[in-house]
Amino acid sequence: MLFVFGFALLVLAAAVVVLFAMLAELASRLPDRPRRSMTIRRLDGLRLERAPDAWPGGLPARDHSVLLVLSTICSSCEDVARQLVSDPGHADWTAAAVVVSTADRIRGAEFVTQFGLERFPHFIDEGGKWVSGEFGVQTSPAALVFGGGRLRSAYEFNDVAALRAALDRAPHTEHEKEEV
């Protein structure tokens, strides 16, 4: 009798554990957000066609590159960082580099490490002084498109794949449409 009772209890406990495990697995597969915006919008008020006075060493050549400006104070930037590395990952985007605008260098380095951004060329921009001083950028996530050493266009975005698709088909000049 004792054995039967114990066995029944064990089965019940195991069933509860498995049930919770299944629920946790299902929950982990659901996206945190219902759907991220695919809108790519041109950023106004920036210093387009400007050749920057300084170009940080960690970044790719300014002749042809796309700088993705993320900030440690921006929660949507964390989503972009995740997309870059693993959701789905954009390691094949050789023109891309990451600029991390941050209050202090340590926090910026933590951001790079936390999201595995080391695999991209990156620059930690303390206070956002470089991107704001050179180009007037004070918001994230932002994509700065360079060609011929100059800032050709700039966009706000939330979806990296949508940004890449838009850049592939858009002319990178100041005469672009309002939304790509």
Partner: protein, 108 residues
């Protein structure tokens, strides 16, 4: 007398066996749960307001925050949400030096 002793011993042994059996089930269940669920992820201490990821709960106005030594930056989310995020006292390591924060959001 001997039979009474042996009956009492038998009852005690039965209780001990039952106790061990049940504690074994409980321990096994806990072990199984620990294996299946693993360690919980460390909870983030940051406070998300709009698209701002702030070190501390907003405790001042945006104008007050911007009047002090601060880090202020804008963010966008879902194409239409725009926020201005501000933190004061960001010279310390990581979030440890942040004493005040503020934000303001709007949709367009």
């Amino acid at each position: 007398m001997t039979e009474q002793h042996s009956a009492a011993d038998g009852g005690r042994k039965s209780r001990i066996r039952r106790r061990r059996f049940l504690s074994g089930i409980g321990g096994g269940g806990l072990a199984a749960a620990a294996v299946i669920f693993g360690k919980p992820a460390a909870a983030s201490t940051n406070v998300v307001k709009g698209c701002c990821n702030l070190c501390v709960t907003p405790n001042t106005s945006l104008s007050n925050c911007e009047a002090l030594v601060h880090y202020v930056w804008g963010c966008t989310e879902e194409g239409s949400l725009h926020c201005v995020c501000c933190e004061v006292g960001t010279t310390g390591q990581s979030c440890s030096g942040v004493s005040q924060s503020a934000y303001d959001c709007f949709y367009n």
